[in-house]
């Protein structure tokens, strides 16, 4: 746990943690010494001359005061380390997110990451104050007390020493029992949380098909399963919860009985017995809180481990001696790509791209077409270096993308994603993220080219319109235009456009085609195209099927060749003649 704290804090954050550990350890040992000093104090008071108490009482007072001062400092230190921890962790997580390859962020990991960087960091920040401190205290104080007992009565001390491993074993056994039970329960909780979300999100479809709460068995099953898992935890976990308390009470009873019998046979004086009993009560209290703190530490440790795992993910390699692209051409040479095998999120290790070779000359327009799953988006991801090719080389301006500095690469390549993501801010903020210092003229030009100017004109708040979380307050078409404007404002010489398949109405489609035409003589364009209107304007068409380029050429060449593209073209033209009718009565 402490090791994990050091790991996630990093070297610069570890000083306050060192200080906290030293303070708390000293305070805990002093507390043990203070409790131990109660024994001579009490012995003196129970003895014949209570006046003998003064030196012991002075020592006891000194110890308690010193303990109080150190403990007070440690309390403050706990919060300091906590807030340091949150700052450091948030920053490290954010930095790490930027260093990781974008390909790392699968849907599951994205959700996990935001939970980790959000709530979990905040949970972790309370550990130094609320878990670590009590834990140290409940560990070191008993140790000090047992050691001190040797000064007062060796037999008692030995019995305590013998009890310690038993208590430890009981604690370990109940912890592992709880952990086993927790596992099943976590799965049940996850399932029911999923089902609740599914049930809520799919209300329209569920209702429309007559499935209300009573009719949607999967949800009720999940809820019932969660309740069952909980109940099992309660019933089966009971021995685990009781055993440690039972064991500590047994130790107390044992020592009480032993003490009384030793007193009765005259081998233990009354004052020592009583003083030891006071000590024993303190000891039992401390040990009990150790068990409590231990349970909390277990949960915190799991969270820290997950944070640590993300922080330890190998960052995307950056070039040691970066080179600058010579021009705005793009080149794929024998490029292959497959997902890491064995990754939990990658169901197959089937190659996504196989031996892909092509060249996009500067200021040319190329359309990439092919069925979904053919690897088109992966091609775009490799150009922007969201991932690295597993075979072959991707070059921009004649330079391997792996040798181009990240910022330099970002300056050269701009992307319009298919699923547009807008952050919660104004339209202007969302566009300006591409170039915070852009002047009004540049902004206006990007808006005009992308058709965003029309959107702005229609909205009452214009540029200041709030986009809502994830852009939810704008329509699909409006979001698309913001995203195109953003890419244009960045003014990179290479532009990759992933045409949206859904939510594009006629107007947007026309606009998209128009933007492609306008940009054609200014930029190197790669359009992942789904619409023929876009394709026919391209200088060249690449057909990607099952990860390999199967055809290339102009529209006319390919139609004449009569291959996949030709049949695609025919099917599309047939599709466009499709009409929807119903029987007339």
């Amino acid at each position: 746990m402490i090791r994990q704290l050091y790991r996630v804090l990093g070297p610069e954050g570890s000083r306050p943690l060192n200080r906290l550990l030293v303070l708390q350890s000293a305070a805990s040992v002093l507390q043990g010494v203070a409790f131990a000093l109660l024994v001579p104090v009490l012995k003196a008071l129970l003895g014949t001359d209570p006046g003998d108490v003064l030196p012991w009482l002075t020592a006891f007072t000194g110890c308690v005061l010193a303990h109080a001062v150190l403990q007070g400092a440690a309390v403050g230190g706990g919060f300091t380390v906590g807030s340091r921890l949150s700052r450091a962790l948030h920053r490290r997580m954010a930095d790490q997110a930027l260093r990781l390859p974008l390909g790392w962020f699968t849907a599951g990991r994205t959700a996990g990451f935001s939970r980790l960087a959000g709530q979990n960091v905040i949970q972790v920040m309370s550990t130094p104050a609320h878990l670590l401190r009590p834990f140290i205290s409940s560990l070191l104080t008993p140790v000090t007390l047992v050691a001190a007992t040797f000064f007062f009565d060796v037999r008692t001390a030995l019995v305590l020493l013998l009890c310690a491993p038993v208590l430890y074993a009981v604690q370990q056994a109940s912890t592992s029992l709880m952990r086993r039970l927790d596992l099943g329960r976590d799965a049940a909780i996850g399932e029911s949380a999923d089902r609740v979300l599914e049930y809520t999100r799919n209300q329209p479809v569920l209702r429309a098909f007559g499935r209300t709460a009573e009719g949607y068995g999967a949800l009720d099953d999940a809820l019932a399963a969660e309740a069952r898992a909980d109940r099992r935890l309660i019933v089966r976990g009971l021995p685990g919860l009781v055993s440690f308390t039972f064991a500590t009470r047994l130790v107390f009873a044992l020592l009480l009985a032993l003490g009384v019998s030793w007193q009765l046979d005259g081998s233990l004086t009354v004052p020592t017995l009583l003083a030891l009993l006071v000590l024993l009560v303190r000891l039992i209290e401390s040990v009990s809180s150790a068990a409590e703190a231990g349970a909390g530490m277990r949960i915190a440790r799991n969270t820290l481990e997950r944070l640590g795992a993300v922080l330890d993910e190998p960052p995307f390699p950056q070039p040691a001696r970066p080179r600058t692209p010579r021009d705005a051409s793009v080149e794929f040479e024998g490029v292959g790509f497959r997902y890491d095998t064995g990754g939990a999120d990658d169901p197959s290790s089937r190659p996504v791209l196989k031996d892909v070779t092509f060249r996009l000359p500067e200021r040319s327009t190329t359309a990439l077409v092919g069925p979904s799953g053919a690897g088109k988006t992966t091609v775009a991801a490799l150009i922007a270096r969201f991932r690295d090719a597993t075979e072959g080389t991707v070059r921009i301006g004649g330079v391997d993308v792996r040798e181009i500095a990240a910022d330099d690469l970002a300056d050269h390549v701009s992307l319009v994603f298919q699923d547009v993501y807008l952050f919660d801010g104004t339209i202007e903020e969302n566009v300006r993220i591409a170039a915070p210092d852009a002047g009004p003229a540049e902004l206006a030009e990007a808006a005009a080219l992308s058709g965003l100017d029309k959107v702005i004109a229609e909205l009452p708040d214009g540029w200041d319109t709030k986009t809502g979380e994830g852009g939810a307050r704008l329509s699909g078409g409006q979001r698309q235009r913001v995203s195109i404007a953003r890419a244009l404002l960045k003014d990179a010489p290479i532009l990759v456009l992933d045409e949206a398949t859904a939510a594009l109405d006629q107007e947007n489609e026309a606009l998209f085609a128009e933007a492609v035409r306008t940009l054609a003589d200014r930029k190197t364009l790669l359009v992942i195209a789904h619409r023929l209107s876009t394709v026919v304007h391209a200088d060249r068409i690449l057909v990607l099927e099952d990860g390999a380029i199967t055809e290339r050429g102009t529209h006319d060449d390919l139609v004449t060749a009569g291959g996949t593209y030709a049949s695609f073209w025919h099917r599309r033209t047939r599709a466009h003649g499709w009409r929807l009718e119903a029987a007339r009565p």
């Binding site: 209570p50 007072t61 954010a94 109940r231 009873a253 009480l256 107007e507 695609f568």
Partner: protein, 629 residues
């Protein structure tokens, strides 16, 4: 809380009746009490057991004190005098353990039942809320109530309640006993408690506001983290160098500053409050005057023993009171949210259920508004005759989807009426309506269930053969057989379907449900351009013989519709057949021309189509495919 917009007719009465879930009698009990009602008896027993456990837990210390007394007073004690006390200590310890465990188990089991019952109630209620309410505040509110809030209640009922009982009973018995030993020292023993209360209340001053602010700050960080992670591609490819995570870092810095400020302002007080009730300090406060008393002969050394044994326990509650208060507040807030959601008005159930006679859909004077201010639809009149195709066209944002969503009653009209077979939609029982109105929308929702169960959604009792027949008709059967477990393959886990495949599956679902009135989004047909033709075949099979309302994007598709309705800004501005509208030269003509200009592939196929033969005898034949090939 936003309630249903009042409308004419029986709706308001029904709404008032439906809202009767919350407690209406004059002094409303706290939501917490209302929620705990079903398990009140068991919780009360648990509280009693816990009180016994807490009291029994003090007894061993009292027994030890008596032993001390016996040992120090008078002649050397006999074993006979001591062993019963030892036995008492052990027995009391055992009683405390057994009662405490029983109390905990009972409270947990009661809470376990309560959780399930609450979650089920919430689920049932969510199934009856107006859809607008669910999309408005998203699923966050529901997740919060069903998962987080019910868990907060668990903490309260299963843990905090019993803790509070212990904290309140044990110190009282302790203090009473200490008073019988030496009331003066007992008074000294109360000092740390009083100091603790004073310091703690000072530290807590304004804590409620700070806690609220803390909660809000945590919420901001969470949403900033979600935004940062979801938008990572955008932040990475557009933000330069170290600037990309600026937004996220700003939120975290604000939080850290707030937290540091909060800690600074209360640190001295809260540290003092913690320290003054710490066992070592309490023992110091007791032993110094205690020693003085003994030295002065005001009390005996033996009488000091119970104070040193039990003294720390008097003040100890102050050490845990902070977290408990927070748990109680969290529990109360959770109860308020849960009851709030449970009290949210449900879609009014029809008072006098009416069954549609036939399938003629009629909209009269229909207006609709999502927020109560801006009308998305205004005064729409529309008729969908059985077996006809009606197409909705218009620019994006003109209200096409909203209008279509009124038919399956995703929303209720703000003004006007929608009738099916002469019956107002609001009067048709939900189970009857869904049998009659089906839909295929662009945004396909598949459930995490087997392929077969997804298709069976509307008719759980359909046979495998029926499922397969619909899958074949929807042109998805072949794809399903390629899946690892065929029709039994669970979707959403290992297997994901492409957009077009999901569309075809949803078409199979609608085919099986076999509703005579169908709402469909034509954009569905090109959601996945590479299986476009297959989807079109599937849609054609589905459309055959039904009353169709089509949200049209590509005008060529609906050229032969019986009626084309042009929506602009929520109003119907033109309607009629394709040729009539073109001849009129209005808005539709402009849209048509715009599409012709959009691309070479859009309308250029038009002249090459053969026109659909009127009065075709077989319904399925009536869905034409172009003959461009």
């Amino acid at each position: 809380m936003k309630s249903q917009p009042p409308g004419p007719g029986p709706a308001p009465d029904a709404a008032a009746g439906g809202a009767g879930t919350g407690a209406t009698p004059p002094p409303p009990p706290h939501p917490l009490r209302t929620l705990a009602e079903p398990v009140r008896g068991r919780l009360a027993v648990a509280v009693g057991l816990q009180a016994v456990a807490a009291l029994a837990g003090v007894v061993p210390f009292i027994a030890v004190s008596r032993i001390a007394e016996r040992l120090t007073a008078g002649p050397p004690a006999e074993g006979d005098a001591l062993w019963p006390l030892v036995a008492l200590a052990c027995a009391a310890g055992l009683v405390a353990l057994v009662c405490g465990t029983a109390a905990g188990a009972l409270a947990h089991l009661a809470d376990n039942d309560l959780q399930l019952a609450l979650r089920r109630r919430l689920a049932r209620h969510i199934g009856r809320l107006p859809l607008g309410r669910l999309t408005d505040r998203g699923t966050g509110e529901v997740k919060q109530a069903v998962q987080d809030d019910v868990s907060a209640l668990h903490t309260l009922f299963a843990h905090t309640l019993l803790d509070v009982v212990s904290v309140l009973t044990a110190p009282v018995l302790t203090l009473v006993y200490l008073c019988t030993v030496d009331w003066r020292l007992a008074l000294v023993g109360v000092v740390p408690l009083l100091l603790g209360v004073f310091l703690f209340s000072r530290a807590m001053a304004g804590a409620a506001a700070q806690m609220a602010e803390f909660g809000a700050a945590v919420g901001r960080i969470s949403s900033a983290a979600v935004e940062f992670a979801s938008g990572i591609a955008v932040f990475k490819s557009f933000g330069r160098g170290g600037k990309a995570h600026e937004r996220f870092l700003r939120a975290t810095e604000d939080f850290a500053d707030f937290f540091a400020g909060w800690v600074r302002s209360t640190l001295a007080c809260s540290t003092a409050a913690i320290m003054v009730v710490a066992p070592a300090v309490v023992l110091l406060l007791l032993s110094v005057p205690g020693a003085l008393f003994v030295v002065q002969g005001w009390t005996t050394g033996a009488e000091l023993v119970p104070f040193l044994l039990l003294g720390p326990a008097v003040a100890a509650p102050m050490g845990v009171v902070g977290p408990r208060i927070q748990q109680i507040r969290a529990g109360q807030a959770a109860a308020v949210r849960v009851t709030g959601l449970l009290a949210a008005p449900t879609l009014p159930e029809p008072k006098t259920p009416a069954l549609p006679d036939g399938h003629h859909v009629r909209l009269r004077g229909v207006s609709f508004s999502y927020d109560g201010h801006d009308d998305v639809l205004s005064d729409v009149d529309l008729d969908l005759a059985p077996g006809t195709v009606t197409a909705l066209v218009g620019p994006s944002g003109s209200g096409k989807s909203t209008l279509a969503s009124l038919l399956p009653r995703f929303h209720d009209v703000t003004a006007g009426t929608v009738t099916l077979g002469g019956a107002d939609l609001r009067d048709i029982p939900a189970s009857e309506l869904y049998r009659r109105v089906g839909f295929v929308l662009q945004d396909v929702r598949l459930l995490r269930a087997s392929v077969a169960d997804n298709i069976r959604l509307g008719r759980p009792d359909a046979t495998d053969a029926e499922v397969e027949r619909c899958a074949r008709a929807a042109r998805i059967h072949d794809r399903i057989t390629e899946l690892p477990d065929g029709y039994a393959t669970e979707l959403g886990t290992a297997v994901a379907l492409s957009g077009g495949e999901a569309q075809r599956l949803s078409i199979a679902r609608a085919l099986l449900a076999d509703a005579p009135v169908l709402v469909l989004d034509e954009a569905t047909a090109y959601a996945d351009p590479h299986s476009e033709a297959l989807i079109q075949d599937a849609l054609s099979a589905l459309a055959a013989g039904r009353t169709l309302l089509v949200i049209a994007h590509r005008l060529s598709t609906i050229r032969t519709a019986d009626r084309i309705v042009v929506l602009e800004d929520g109003r119907v501005t033109e309607q009629g057949r394709h040729d009539d509208l073109l001849a009129a030269g209005g808005r539709y003509t402009a849209l048509w021309e715009a599409q012709r200009a959009a691309g070479p592939d859009e309308t250029d196929g038009a002249p090459r189509h053969r026109s659909a033969p009127a009065g075709a005898d077989r319904a399925a034949d009536d869905v034409r495919e172009g003959s461009a090939r």
